[in-house]
Symmetry: C2
């Protein structure tokens, strides 16, 4: 087993449930990639890039309105797998997401046809795929609930707390435009919220950064994130 | 093969891909049910009713806000299967829907543990489950896009057209409250929209009914539904 395959096998939870032939098929077709922050890995539509398995870094899946507004649907971190970049694997996937790198990212691409073949062969792979889809489904349902029932001030507060947890810092390098694109709103709305947070001493704003200065107060507003 | 099983086998697309033992397992555990319009079949949380396969009728899956507002997530018609009433089958299903009958409905319940066992045994069943989940996922993504980018007048128009298609009539027996509960808004908002539609000669309102009088104009507003 080559070094690349050996490493992959540690990241792919059902590796041990594959037959030697299936393992060979996957390791023979696996492609390693490194992408820079900002790169677009998948762009919806007829594109069928394959499954993306993140080794290290951070990806973002988002949808676009006709007017070019964005909203983040979910994010992918180390060991996460992205199915929807291989939407041709399942005919019932009838929507389009865009996947871009939020940080420099190292990942594996499993070709869509190989994965489709594997799913048909192996109940273990098919059930693993089910679990991945169910967990993305849960994230989208969470998002739907946020969008439906939560006011924008609470959503901005929750987003800042989430970012702080991901980056392990209270000093976030993020623009108001970025925040708006995550939450599916306009920059002006975010700016208004952040200024209100600043007046309430929850954050401190400066060019390109938002610093959380009163986490307890922000948590009281944002609730679970 | 009993009559019940024979009928079920016509409704369950992967029946022919099951082994005789698996077929026996499923037909031995299958429960037929008939529920009245309005009945709640599944109520989220720790409930694990089993998979619901609709023989005839109409079900509705919706989520609830803390304040008791509702929004329809998807609907189930003849031959549709509901996975999320068996959320214990997959540990990654981390959200709660409520399922109720919109019409008198005849259905089969497949116990959750039997289905879980089948999915583990049979790649065909696991992949079928994947397709079901992907198609619900697509419906939720569509809903998210509607909620994010479409104004309420367009959503009300699209909903009326969808109802007319389901019921094969332009004269809908539906209250403003019902419409609000489908769309996740307040009754007052729906009433305001409908009165505007009436002034524009698109609908005619009377107690408990909404009649579509200008479908072309309503379609121009509602777009694809």
């Amino acid at each position: 087993m080559g070094e690349n395959t050996m490493e992959f096998s540690e990241y792919f939870p059902v590796w041990d449930k594959l037959t030697p032939g299936q393992q060979e098929m996957i390791s023979g077709s696996l492609v390693g990639r490194t992408v820079k922050k900002g790169a677009v890995l998948y762009n919806g539509g007829t594109d069928c890039t394959g499954l993306l398995l993140v080794k290290s870094g951070q990806l973002r899946a988002f949808i676009l309105s006709e007017e070019g507004r964005e909203i983040t649907v979910y994010r992918l971190f180390d060991r996460d797998i992205c199915l929807f970049s291989a939407s041709c694997v399942m005919r019932s996937i009838q929507f389009e997401v865009t996947i871009s790198a939020e940080k420099d990212t190292t990942l594996w691409v499993i070709p869509a046809d190989v994965y489709k073949w594997l799913m048909e062969q192996s109940a273990a792979v098919a059930n693993y795929t089910n679990e991945i889809m169910a967990s993305r489904f849960s994230e989208v349902m969470w998002l739907l609930e946020q969008v439906m029932w939560k006011s924008m001030d609470k959503r901005v507060a929750a987003f800042l707390l989430e970012e702080a947890a991901i980056e392990s810092t209270n000093r976030l390098n993020i623009t108001h435009e970025n925040i708006a694109n995550h939450l599916g709103t306009h920059r002006e709305v975010v700016t208004r919220m952040l200024r209100y947070f600043q007046r309430e001493d929850m954050v401190k704003l400066s060019r390109g950064t938002v610093e959380i200065t009163d986490r307890v107060k922000l948590e009281a507003l944002g609730g679970d994130y």
